[in-house]
Symmetry: none
């Protein structure tokens, strides 16, 4: 594990052994922060270099994550001043809340399936979470 608190509003937590590419983890964590409104339009993200140092990873990896989010219209870069959360999602046909709910349902569905595969019923799952 590899944590880093950045400028503000977002803390990254990387799992280098899980097989999930690092740049995907970064993308997901930025998206989730937006969906849960910890990051709002206009907020500044940490610089690539600073974040690379904090997370002890290759700057290219962060550049790739930011780049993909920029292509999707989630981020905007302003040369000389940094990378920001966009004001608008041009193609958005769903509201942020809708997307968030969809993501939550996806995560929940995957999770329930995996725990069921591991032989747990709903009551056992509830009990585990209460003790978490």
């Amino acid at each position: 594990m590899n944590d880093a608190k950045a400028d503000s509003n977002i803390t990254f937590s990387l799992e280098t052994t899980s097989g999930t590419p690092i740049y995907r983890q970064i993308i997901q964590q930025i998206e989730y922060a937006i969906l849960s409104e910890r990051l709002k339009p206009g907020d500044r993200l940490p610089t690539i270099r600073a974040l690379a140092v904090d997370l002890k990873i290759n700057p290219n990896t962060i550049a790739k994550a930011y780049g993909e989010l920029e292509i999707r219209g989630v981020l905007t870069t302003q040369v000389g001043s940094g990378t920001f959360i966009s004001n608008k999602k041009p193609e958005a046909r769903e509201s942020i809340e809708d997307i968030r709910h969809r993501k939550i349902q996806e995560v929940l569905g995957r999770f329930m399936q995996e725990l069921e595969d591991l032989g747990l019923g709903k009551n056992e799952i509830l009990s585990l979470i209460r003790k978490f």
Copy 2:
């Protein structure tokens, strides 16, 4: 989604949009079935070809999953008669129950982290699962 009931004891459920390779999903579902004791030593797995038809994927993909589990000593194959759960895991220093509990904790930890990233608290999570 893509489900298939096989010979017995195990039903595969593939998620083709999640980015997780199909063969990894198969490996995980076999491992979890063993950990939850739905599959026991000596049990026969579905044949590669039958499963390929059921899941509508290429036989080589299943062969790759079975092959990795064979290298790891989880499965044994007898050409001409099929693929079986191995009798012994020679290097096992942990009981099946211990491994199962470790996996459950891993899945749970990942899940709680993701939902927290999506802005959910424990009570909201509990409520969602009750309604699941």
Copy 3:
């Protein structure tokens, strides 16, 4: 016969008429190179594609050999930069020297048995090897 000198440290020699699968020959030659310390932890193996060209075989065949060794923890791959000898064999209870000696005894035993079956005595064998 089919020889290929790769990046360094290891030269592969395939016997396509022996019935032994090509990917198994590759695995054995990598293992033996490690046991005789011609390959050490951190050393880079030839790329899959370069070796495929050299050995005039399909890249998938080499990928299968590398893949098995990766599952066994002998190799590590870093997509984008190549395949390397792992630093540690976590479960190793035998030293490299012990394994090497065991392998030598196995090869020797098989060989003496086969030549005995072909009607040769120890002195004839010694004489043949001197002339080899």
Copy 4:
């Protein structure tokens, strides 16, 4: 390992863990016995059933080995009396001695290559064989 002395002249020694199919091991051992003249034309081989009991393997496996050698003209079966070494090898373009020498060279070449891969030089090999 699994040894069995049959009617006469030939003792089979099977290696069930080596990956080499059992029927191939039987074929090889019969061929080598012929090449080294421990079995001569007209000699009777053990019956399939007796040998199956001795070696504790499936009779079909022995039938397959005998069958293949019969196709090649090495054996002849006389219903009711048994299986025998043929008098003639119809297609033989090489003498028995030539074949034997070729086989010896093959075995020797494979062996020297493997031990070289394991880091042994000729003198070490000679020394090991003297102590064998």
